[in-house]
Symmetry: C2
Subunit: 242 residues, 2 copies
């Protein structure tokens, strides 16, 4: 049985004494009921992971002593930026959770014509902070030592994405486009752009076709909140990630 | 805007007057508030779909007149049997919904050592009937004219699955196995066998290795209820379904 894992962004080298973020401290003391002396693992969110020991857990917070570095779970061979149009309610939360689990490198929330929220409304609602917490939680569960950054939400027309860009479209919106060969991107980066519940407008499709390659995933209509997981699994399979 | 779709298992030829199942009748009258004269589509669950017209909607039920056949959404090239160990609570519902959406041919619920329910408990709880309703609902939403059968739940040691069988295992449970080449099965059939939340026991892994090929999907730990969608998307991609 491996030791429980915690996110400690300030961890950097063996011997360090680091204070856990509040959410992590709460998880350690209230949920797992760990105490000084207990062995844990901490990861820095940038790919490093360490054996560690709880040194103090009191009202002033939880401090852990960083121990030996350990091999972290390998990251995906292609660093994928998931550019996802913001979905309604908690559906976007599920997409963030699943995208981190399957192994994206970063998440770019997109505001499109049929997205319900504006970038201003997302900011007022502190949605990005919420998605960041979900990304940490998902990284803990799936075993990654990397917490993919949640980028500042941008309007579709304002976003610049790493190439090549794969634009997912509904069956019927365009015809005859598929994953095809889709060789692994030579530069080790790629982006996957996915629309909101109502799909892209025709103007957006025109714009998307200028920045990327449109593709559909079979003839069956996928739920908007499942599209990212299916597209990423399919691309990773094509790129010999599995 | 296409017409709403309903499941009418007794539809067989143009000119037929068919009575919709109760759930479908309720969806037509109470949710969509359709009435005699309204145009709909019906599919028989076995791959046929027809233009139709509501002819009566009253206390005795909803009857529709079957019109011309229309092209239904293409089924996947490989007919996949998803053999899924029954997950807790509503997680199995989500797997059934997603598996139908992505395009499996049939679903075989499995009782394994770490499955909470026995086959008898599943029967008492009428779980199979529930999953059948979810399969119908998902087929309606994703556009399929096929409703994949939900087979009678079986214990792992009693089940016989179409070959080749791909057995999904946790990262770390075995080493070095991946999708590899996984050419499209020559016989046009395949099975995907997926374990419960706690994974397979070592005895089950030994048994599974005798009936299929063990494989992992990357080093990241996938949630049990997301494993089917990721595995199916990856296999379909490898088999040029996309």
């Amino acid at each position: 049985m491996s030791h429980p894992r915690f996110f400690a962004p300030s961890a950097s080298a063996p011997g360090d004494l680091v204070t856990l973020p509040d959410d992590e401290a709460e998880h350690l003391t209230r949920v797992l009921r760990l105490a000084p002396g207990d062995r844990v693992r901490v990861f820095d969110g940038r790919g490093a992971e360490f054996e560690s020991v709880v040194e103090a857990a009191d009202k002033s917070g939880v401090r852990v002593r960083i121990g030996v570095p350990i091999a972290s779970v390998r990251e995906a061979r292609v660093a994928v930026t998931l550019a996802q149009a913001v979905l309604k309610g908690d559906k976007m939360d599920a997409v963030v959770r699943d995208a981190v689990m399957i192994g994206v490198a970063e998440i770019q929330p997109i505001v499109s014509a049929r997205t319900e929220s504006s970038t201003a409304a997302l900011e007022r609602g502190r949605r990005r902070e919420r998605w960041e917490r979900i990304a940490v939680s998902s990284a803990k569960q799936c075993g990654r030592a990397v917490v993919p950054p949640i980028l500042e939400p941008k309007r579709l027309e304002d976003v610049a994405l790493p190439s090549p860009v794969f634009v997912l479209v509904e069956p019927g919106a365009v015809s005859g486009l598929s994953l095809g060969e889709s060789e692994m991107p030579a530069g080790g980066r790629a982006s996957v752009l996915i629309g909101p519940e109502g799909g892209w407008t025709s103007e957006e499709l025109d714009h998307a076709a200028t920045i990327g390659r449109l593709l559909t995933l079979g003839g069956r209509t996928l739920r908007a909140d499942a599209m990212a997981l299916v597209a990423l699994a399919a691309l990773f399979a094509r790129w010999r990630e599995y």
